[in-house]
């Protein structure tokens, strides 16, 4: 029974990793660049939600929607103004650029909101439900439900909407998509905005658990493990990878005595390194094989 309890907790935190990883994957699929600032965008989302809900006293759902909208617009212009200039440079330049952007966001957040730890009230805070002796908190339920809703929305968007199909086409082959009359640059900026919006959703859902401060941007680094495990480039892979990482982390934390001390904090990174060494293409990769030396 304890095991099931752990798995439920793990799935909840894993969904957050999965959502952030989803942001990496969307951008990577489209432009073959990695956004190292994804965790910092998540942090910005949480802070904006704190401003809207906690300070201005907005209704939770309205504040949630507005936060996602603000961050999505921000993501759009982030690509259109800054990141696009770097296309064509070596991968190293993109890595450094997004790391630099991440530092700017974190610095901005700590100047604008301060370095204290904030929280805002949500309809889920502090409520639990019991089911066959399992204790499930509403917060965890909200995370799992939110992820499920977002995933299905994205699924329908990418499968049935015209823009979604255009996005898949641009990811598949930029030149061919451009010849078909798809405004590829605009589409890429739109993908950045979706990716930022997803990060904002993760940030708002996560806020009741970790509270809001600048250190939550470190989740972005753990989400790399999820993205790599799922095979960079696969959307369901990102979520499944995230959930696996979440469960592994919970299990490592509980059975720490049998392993070694402090295994919980580095378990995600260990999984990441092991995946890269043993099976670098990941679980759900649609690519034939990751290029090897």
């Amino acid at each position: 029974m304890q095991l099931i309890q752990l798995i439920i907790d793990g799935v909840a935190s894993g969904c957050i990793y999965g959502l952030v990883a989803l942001g990496f994957v969307l951008i990577y699929k489209a432009t073959e660049t990695i956004n190292f600032a994804q965790g910092d965008i998540l942090m910005l989302g949480a802070f904006v939600a704190y401003s809207l809900i906690g300070l201005m006293g907005m209704d939770y759902l309205t504040g949630f929607a507005l936060t996602v909208l603000i961050i999505a617009v921000f993501g759009f212009f982030l690509d259109a103004v800054v990141v696009r200039q770097i296309i064509g440079q070596p991968a190293f330049a993109t890595v450094m650029l997004t790391i630099g952007l991440g530092f700017i966001f974190r610095g901005f957040a700590s100047i604008y909101w301060g370095t204290d730890i904030f929280s805002f009230s949500t309809p889920f805070s502090g409520k639990i439900t019991e089911f066959n002796g399992l204790i499930i908190s509403y917060v965890n339920l909200s995370i799992i439900a939110g992820t499920a809703i977002l995933m299905s929305a994205l699924y329908f968007f990418f499968t049935f909407s015209k823009i979604g199909v255009a996005m898949r086409a641009s990811s598949e082959n930029q030149l061919a998509a451009y010849y078909m009359g798809i405004p590829v640059k605009f589409i890429f900026s739109l993908i950045w905005s979706i990716s930022a919006g997803v990060a904002a959703v993760a940030g708002v859902l996560l806020a009741p658990i970790t509270l809001v401060d600048t250190s939550i941007s470190l989740i972005g680094l753990k989400a790399f493990a999820a993205a790599v495990l799922g095979g960079f480039g696969s959307i369901p892979g990102a979520i499944v990878g995230g959930i696996i990482i979440g469960i592994v982390e919970q299990l490592c934390g509980t059975y720490e005595n049998y392993l070694f001390e402090g295994v919980r904090e580095i378990s995600a990174y260990l999984v990441l390194i092991l995946t890269l060494i043993i099976y670098p293409r990941g679980l759900f990769s649609d690519k034939a094989e990751v290029k090897k030396v």
């Binding site: 190293f92 450094m96 991440g102 100047i111 990441l272 030396v293």
Partner: protein, 357 residues
Amino acid sequence: MRFIFKTKYSQDINIAKHNGDRFWYSLLILIMAALPLVLDDFYLGEISYICILSIAGIGLMILSGYTGLASLGHAAFLGVGAYTHAFLLTNGVPFYASIPIVIVVSFLVGAVIGIPILRLTGMYLAIATLALGFIAEHVFIKWEHFTGGNRGLPVPQPEFLGMSFYDSVFFYYVCLVFLIAAMFAAINILRSPTGRAFVAIRDSEIAAQSLGVNLGLYKALSFAISGAFTGLAGALLAHYIGYLAPDIFNIFLSLTLLLLIVVGGMGSLHGTVFGAIFVGFLPQLIAICRDYLPSSIGSQPGLEPMLFGLILVFFILYEPLGIYGRWIKIKLFFELFPTYKRQTFKKQKVFTKSDRV
């Protein structure tokens, strides 16, 4: 404008291209050697720190600037060097024996880590080194027998050549000598076939492989050499700090090293020194900025990462070749005056290399 009349192929790999180089670099070394006569202890300490940063920068430059492999976890090597050195000194190993052991240990650590993860390319490598950096930081905290854990580890300051490391003039000379030695070693590595192979790998893996460069071997070698330089810097850093705590070797230090090579200029050894001077004086620069900004912004702790990020983004976007690149441009402007053309250094647009098959 100087034209060098080459009569031998070997002139292409001379360390000094012409007598002017010899003269200026000798003068520089003489001035550096004479500095303790005019500067007080505080500035000598700062310059020693810059020397240490330059040595670490050489390490990362060989890996990232010359072999084209990104490492986001290089603070781990500084940590390995620092802790190994402190551990050896605590157990009575003399300074002159400890330094070579540190270099060998960091070389081996680099090779052992390098062999499995260097099968990865591009951003996978960046992510893997990032993760390794975290794991290393964690190991420093938890391996208490070796590192003292969170309590920290005091670094013994032994006598060496009858002088003490507490003497800042002596410490300055030690750092300077090690920097010059490291610079010579790096120059010689880079003009040897090994160094040429590194550059070939950076420019095109396929072309390098076709010319008979064993990619796996040379990448691992680059990682190991890079680790050795950074480990040496770590050993000197241990003396500079005097008390090792695991949270020194965090991701922020790794990123500072990256900032150093990006700001200094990717792919140039001059750049490591320029970058080290920049990074070494960055805290003072920020302190000056604080004075000029209104106190509501100036007193914020977030200013430092923000400036850090802004500088990084600015250099990546507008001056990818860093301070050294800017220097080259200024030099050429005066050499070619009045016929300098802006287009000489125009960034070439290239198609992004695709990892997809």
